[in-house]
Amino acid sequence: MAVLEVTGLSKSFGGLTAVNDVDFHVDEQEIVGLIGPNGAGKTTFFNVITGVYEPSEGKIEFLGTSIAGRLPSQVTKLGIARTFQNIRLFNDMTALENVMVGQHCRMKTNVFSAILRTPRALREEERVRDKALALLEYVGLKGHAGELAMNLPYGSQRRLEIARAMATDPQLLFLDEPAAGMNPQETEDLMRLIRRIRDEGMTIILIEHDMRLVMGISDRIVVLDHGEKIAEGSPDVVRQDPKVIEAYLGHAVEA
């Protein structure tokens, strides 16, 4: 069954069409890689689906519910989580607090129960803290719970973003260039982490420029260029596709 079903999605900013009539779907527990040259519309595509922008046209269905035009917070609550291309952690909060914020939409404490510290509010807080600690351990940040996000090394910040996204209890995880700026060792660890997350039941869509990562990990790859989908298929098929080669390398010069 398709977790995400996108039909005829377009997004234009004034005269510029960033995403043009894209059909796209992801099945359960699939890892789909979204690639394309710079400016192909990958991040815009992400942003439309996660509610940052409203689509100009087209349908977006997540588990059978239309999510086009909803607020990002509502989309997250429905079960789609994301990370950002340029890391957006809550810098002045600890690693633990960052992940606890991710649980926000699964909590019920309001102003009054927070003031009264009702047993329910206390239990909820404890449950969320334990879960956050477990997630930190899961992504390999055990022992860093009390550190400020901004003091973590770059690779750890990327992993903290993943832990924070997973804290929202998503069914679908969007990773926007998770390996950007990582060294080969860190990229290797990241691949293992992403596989493990998938094997435990998550569906993943990732934008990535690191071809080794994206070819090595994706079940299926979708290629965007100038906002249009130009190819789709298994890594091997896409690699051979003349249109893809052309998009990345340009025309072969006619002799």
Binding site: H104, R129, A145
Partner: protein
């Protein structure tokens, strides 16, 4: 009954921070028994009013990161509400003796706060899309609008004549002298700071801080940011409303000049001075600065040149921005160390926090 060992554990859990808070509260409570000067007690009362105002504003400015230069508006809402109800409506219109309805003051503390909350949400709504400078200008304008309305709507607010307001009382017991008023405001201040700390150290405070740190990421993590920004305005305004009610009955008078733009600027300055985004900062800022300011008021030189106080405040703030931009207590490190009970709950966290401290 909790066992002796569990009490001992609780005392240990309190740590230095808890011990300091308890000691400070104890000192504040017995202070009036030692000090026998109405002038000093009045000074301390004013300090405590600003402690609450700065702590309430800190919710909006320090925790949620929304620069609000019109906070005085909510203070005015509380003050004028109680004055209008007591004098303009009950006494003048219905001929009720105000001493008969003494209980209304206590009810008004709450209703004044709620009205200010509503005003906060109403003023907050159109500013939701604004950030930084634009937000500051708009809140500043709203603050001025309230004052100008108070100054000109003679029929309701008596404009520049102001309204006289009775002392707070419980049946025949009148909070008329400086000592009683001090104890009353001390109680209100302790309660307010306690309530604020509870909200801050919950899911809600975390959401506010997340919005301050990165609004787009906060929204993407499932926080309905507009709703939480409105909540921040409303909760922040609540405490200004409560203080407005107290202030009117404490001063026995409300007048538009009590709610000038300079007051808003002073409140923001206190928050900045003490340190934004932690609970103790604004309290320290208010205690230090308001004591100094009120103390200086009695010097002949200052009376001859009152503008010197404003200049000094400006100079201190500029120096702060250069030397210690995070404020006196503004470091996150301090905040981290000062929250032993919430942060260390589990063994693992205890270790994590110990790691941070040992660096």
């Amino acid at each position: 009954m909790p066992s002796v060992s569990s009490i001992a554990q609780r005392v240990r859990d309190l740590g230095w921070y808890g011990a300091f808070v308890i000691a400070a509260v104890a000192v504040a409570m017995v202070l009036p028994l030692v000090i026998d000067s109405a002038r000093w007690l009045t000074l301390l009362t004013i300090v405590l009013i600003y402690v609450v105002l700065a702590s309430g504003l800190n919710i909006v400015v320090g925790f949620t990161g929304l620069l609000d230069l019109g906070y005085v508006a909510f203070y005015a809402v509380g003050g004028y509400y109680t004055a209008i109800l007591f004098i303009q409506v009950l006494e003048s219109h219905f001929g009720v003796a105000v001493s008969e309805v003494w209980w209304l003051f206590w009810v008004n503390l709450l209703i004044g706060g709620i009205l200010a909350s509503i005003a906060g949400a109403i003023i907050g709504y159109p500013t939701l899309r604004l950030r930084g400078d634009y937000l500051a200008i708009m809140t500043l304008a709203f603050g001025e609008i309230i004052r100008i309305v108070a100054n000109n709507w003679d029929a309701v607010t008596r404009g520049p004549s102001g309204i006289s307001v009775p002392d707070p009382a419980v049946a025949g017991f009148v909070f008329g002298d400086a000592r009683r008023l001090y104890w009353l405001i001390l109680g209100l201040a302790i309660l307010s700071v306690f309530l604020i700390s509870r909200v801050i150290r919950s899911r809600i405070g975390r959401a506010w801080t997340a919005i301050r740190e990165d609004e787009i990421a906060a929204e993407a993590m499932g926080i309905h940011t507009s709703r939480y920004k409105l909540l921040s305005y409303a909760v922040g305004a609540f405490f200004a409303g409560v203080m407005g009610v107290f202030f009117a009955h404490y001063l026995n008078f409300v007048h538009p000049s009590n709610f000038k733009l300079m007051e808003s600027i002073l409140m923001v300055s206190l928050v900045v001075l003490g340190g934004m985004g932690n609970l103790i900062g604004p309290i320290a800022g208010a205690v230090l600065w308001i004591s100094l300011q009120e103390y200086l008021r009695d010097f002949e030189f200052i009376q001859a040149h009152p503008e010197v106080r404003g200049i000094a405040m400006g100079a201190v703030l500029v120096a702060m921005m250069v030397l210690r931009p995070q404020g006196l207590l503004g470091s996150r490190r301090v905040a981290l160390e000062m929250r032993p009970r919430t942060v260390h709950q589990s063994e693992q966290e205890r270790q994590a926090v110990a790691d941070v401290r040992s660096r």
